[in-house]
């Protein structure tokens, strides 16, 4: 449908948008110097220090470590618990009210309790990240496990597969497309909780670096830090989508799913 001339017009428009935004920013920064409007080269220098220089080890890597551990814990626990609840239907009415309550707690509200019980430690931040991101995975896994074609389960049962084997070899593959949809939402939430936990209770990490730069009026550092977080979010999302594409290559709907998420 899209002709090549339309594509060229949209490319030109996109380049014009980016170029004009960059130019307006730089012009404003140079002609109206204000603390909240640092020139672009200062932001670029700050960005470079964060991804390359001394700040990599005190700001970026601690954040990444906590983000990945918390997120992976949420994914693993969410998938295991979700598949179990979805497969063992009798369990559902017992846990449903608790789940429906916990999933709607705004995850920041948990932070003071985590601080009280675990102190200002990495374990606390990892817990908050995992708590904030587990529910989309858990609910997607329950949903996916319930929609498994019963015939497949009958075949598995006839062939003498144990309950655990049925879950791992039949239920999990069938639920994977749904699980991945949950994991994509969870990644965004994990990133939000990473930043919140560092803004409110940390002495290292990228969130702490941004807040400290703001308090010291080192504004280029604030913008550079935000850009680094954006880069992390972008890279992890791209990695997750590539991984999903690989794992779900057998699944007919994956192409439609990834296109839909690209527009969403």
């Amino acid at each position: 449908m899209v002709t090549s001339s339309a594509r060229i017009v949209s490319l030109v428009l996109q380049i014009a948008t980016i170029a004009s935004l960059v130019l307006v920013w730089q012009w404003a920064a140079l002609s109206h110097p204000a603390p909240y409007l640092p020139p672009l080269e200062a932001i670029a220098r700050g960005y470079w220090r964060l991804v390359q220089g001394d700040l990599l080890f005190v700001a970026v890597l601690p954040s990444l470590y906590r983000l990945l551990v918390g997120f992976l814990a949420a994914v693993v626990l969410g998938v295991i618990a979700g598949l179990a609840i979805g497969y063992l239907r009798a369990l559902d009415p017992w846990v449903r009210p608790i789940l429906e309550y916990l999933r709607f707690i705004p995850a920041v509200a948990i932070l003071p309790a985590a601080l009280l019980l675990l102190g200002p430690t990495d374990a606390m931040r990892i817990f908050v990240i995992a708590f904030g991101s587990i529910f989309p995975v858990l609910l997607a896994a329950i949903d996916g496990a319930r929609r498994v074609d019963p015939t497949l389960l009958d075949v598995a049962r006839v062939n003498g597969l144990s309950t655990v084997q049925q879950i791992v070899r039949v239920v999990m593959p069938a639920a994977l497309p749904s699980i991945f949809a949950g994991i994509r939402i969870a990644l965004g939430l994990a990133l939000i909780m990473m930043v919140i936990s560092e803004l409110i209770a940390a002495d290292d990490g990228i969130g702490f670096y941004i807040l400290r730069s703001q308090r010291l009026f080192q504004t280029a550092g604030v913008y550079a830090g935000v850009l680094v977080i954006g880069t992390i979010g972008w890279a992890l999302t791209a990695g997750l989508l590539a991984f999903e594409k690989r794992v779900l290559a057998w699944h007919r709907g994956w192409r439609g799913l990834t296109v839909a998420s690209g527009n969403a």
Partner: protein, 258 residues
Amino acid sequence: MAVLAEIPTIVKNIGGVVVAILLWEAVRMSGWVDPRDLPSFFAIVRSAVDGLSGGDLSWAVLATILSWAPGLLLAVVIGIAAGVALALLPRLESATRPLLEFLRPIPSVALIPVALLTLGVGMEMQLVMIAFASVWPILFSTKAGVESVDPRYRETGRVFGLGTASQIVRIVLPNALPSVATGTRTASAIALVLAITVEMLTGRPGIGFYLQNVRLNGLVTEMWAAILVTGVLGYLVNAAFMTLERLTLPWSPENRGH
């Protein structure tokens, strides 16, 4: 198992909650954590009721709602307008796409320090942050909803002599509303998180500030009570939007099944 299957669902629901409360009490008594950090469930509920019936907690909840609602409203207005515009004007969509793709992966909470720099500490900054964070799901679901409107409906409208504005109001928006409503429900939860986070960081009145305050003053039971109440608030916000959708959008695909 056969006996268990005959228990009515509501009894199982309540049974699950009772088991969870018993687990809480068991952890409390096990000595894994300092029992002073984990008050009994009934003490927490009593404190929540006290706090809500005219106590400080009720004012904190009210303050949070009073910044959450206008912020979300702002996001709804901007999100719907921008979503419709992006869906109907392909040139605008492709021109702004790099900007949207650039802003989207940045978690909105990371922009709180930027907002502190440019807007300072105050109501304005809190509203802007809430609206900025919650506008995205509304914008993208509006755009998807408008794009999914069958073009034949608009062509029919054109044949009947409707102008662009009345086509949008009478054909496009009613068709896109179920999708807009879903996006708004997602946004309402995000707006709540942002409101509370800004309160925690800047000391603006509300649940976030209240939580920080009681924690720093060692009022442990009050802190757990506030968390319990915040969860109920989050639950009620979602339930309210679901009910609103059911009552006002009977043509929504989500409501047709009933």
